[in-house]
Symmetry: C2
Subunit: 322 residues, 2 copies
């Protein structure tokens, strides 16, 4: 039996995530009513995932529920924000109870992990697409932006890069990548937003961005906003064992530097704050690697182990690039 | 030439609506950073419009830009909120500069009218769909909800009902409605959110809802949330000259009571506050009509001029009703 729109919202979405005391009204009225903490700024981000573009239409719905929230929380992480609320606009071809149940399970588990409450949404009929908006808090003088990088700053990246890109290549049947698929698929389908890292870095790092479009593209945004260049040493980019083996076999660095979906953080740190930053890192259960340096100029340049520039053609994912 | 995603955001969406002093960071970083006023609650609503479901794919894009913001502002109006910020998640089959320019013009004009700034968004490639989220402010003790209606309360509606529904019937080629299309199409395509009315009613009216799914359905939400019934006198429902002529010709009240998209407000007012409410109405440049009364019981009942119940089968639009 098809569920009506109102039953559907009530059944699957009225109690998703945790219950927060600063939520006055959640799902069920014309608006949610929220009580932001005095003295803090509200950080807001929105992202859409479209079937056939951002995910395969037959993706496991529990993973999709997780990922649709994770990519948004990742934007909060990149500002150093504390997550609080989410809304969900879900467009579905039909209302399938099994699909909805799995989707809401994946969404809710991650929401609870990060103290997020679903406070509103809209359910419409149409081609499968998920738009999530998240809200969180930052201190007015302690957040990561894109425009604060200065020549001499150190560039760090969390976790490992290229895993999601290699998994995607494997799913698409690119022969040399298929063998690595099993190890890496969860990195593509269940990214972990680096919330704790973002909050630990805020007030020390100047810039922060999450790597959603690829290292070259995202670090490029920092360079453009800051009016500076970046020099990245390929040998220092943190790699999983699977990606390391793949590069040893193929020499393909392009997948590492220009594929998105890793949702690691890339931050810039003034050299004077290096010790303080590395102390903050020790409080995290997460590898954080020094991968390069901000320089005068413009654009991102990668160099190999001998200091020779390596040129990459594709800079990252762009929806409307011809 | 196709615009890249980043140029597109920069060109059409980085300066939409008005510039607000309480916006710390708008479009261009991982998150927008906003400064909500102390002591107020944040009201949040999200709505998606999907091509082929909520609008015809060849709808004038300027009207679509207007409507995609208007339907969200209407939710703020239904809470009695003061609008402040919006985000826009736009999924497009391709990036067409003429379409984008017209869309952003329609969106921006309405945003400026209501002091709204576009502070963030996401542009993705896929089937045409628009998700807008708006945020505004209410006083903690002065907002309209759905759960405050009590037997004896008076029910009022703003403007006129059925215009958008009749226009839609005309666009769909339903013979008896086609003749009214010209007069009513702008009511369907460029609804005016009743922001000033909502703010004037807050603190006097108990319940408020915007009529987006049809009077029966939306008033039904108030009844369900309040644990009460509603009795509506058909003769008192405010009608435009076009809808009055259509009903005289066809006798079809169904279009008036069960079609959505009018985005008028329906509110309930305790009888003791009738004088104060009607004084508030006089400050508005908008007709507001007494259409019925809240009663004990459940559900919405319509009566004709002789007090006889009139039964309607279709209750309103539901995306997943089989």
């Amino acid at each position: 039996m098809a569920l009506s729109e109102f039953n559907l919202i009530e059944h699957y979405f009225s109690r998703l995530g945790c219950q927060r005391e600063d939520t006055v009204l959640a799902v069920g009225d014309d608006c949610a009513l929220l009580k932001p903490p005095p003295g803090k700024l509200l950080a807001v981000s929105v992202d859409t995932l479209v079937a056939g573009v951002h995910f395969f239409a037959d993706t496991d719905p529990e993973n999709l529920g997780h990922k649709s929230l994770a990519v948004n929380l990742s934007d909060l992480a990149a500002m150093g924000a504390e997550p609080a609320w989410a809304t969900l606009a879900l467009t579905l071809p039909q209302s399938d109870p099994d699909w909805l149940s799995a989707f809401s399970r994946g969404f809710s588990a991650l929401a609870i992990e990060h103290n997020v409450q679903l406070v509103g949404g809209d359910t419409t009929q149409g081609p499968l697409s998920v738009t999530v908006q998240v809200q969180g808090f930052v201190q007015p003088d302690r957040y990561l932006s894109r425009a604060a990088a200065r020549p001499g700053d150190l560039i760090y990246a969390t976790g490992s890069l290229g895993d999601a890109g290699l998994a995607l290549a494997g799913l698409r049947g690119q022969a040399s990548a298929v063998g690595y698929l099993d190890k890496l698929q969860s990195r593509l389908e269940r990214p972990e937003p680096r919330i704790a890292a973002g909050q630990a870095f805020a007030g020390i790092a100047g810039c922060g961005i999450d790597i959603s479009d690829g290292l070259l593209a995202d670090l490029g945004h920092i360079c453009a906003a800051s009016g500076a260049a970046a020099r990245v040493e390929l040998d220092r980019i943190p790699l999983s064992a699977a990606v390391r083996a793949y590069i040893a076999e193929t020499g393909d660095w392009q997948t590492v530097v220009s594929s998105g979906d890793d949702y690691e953080l890339c931050v810039t740190v003034p050299e004077l704050l290096k010790t303080r930053f590395e102390e903050a890192v020790r409080s995290l259960d997460l590898a954080v690697s020094l991968i390069g340096r901000i320089e005068p100029g413009a654009g991102v340049c990668c160099v190999d182990g001998h200091g020779n520039p390596v040129d990459f053609t594709a800079k990252g994912y762009d929806h409307f690039q011809s």
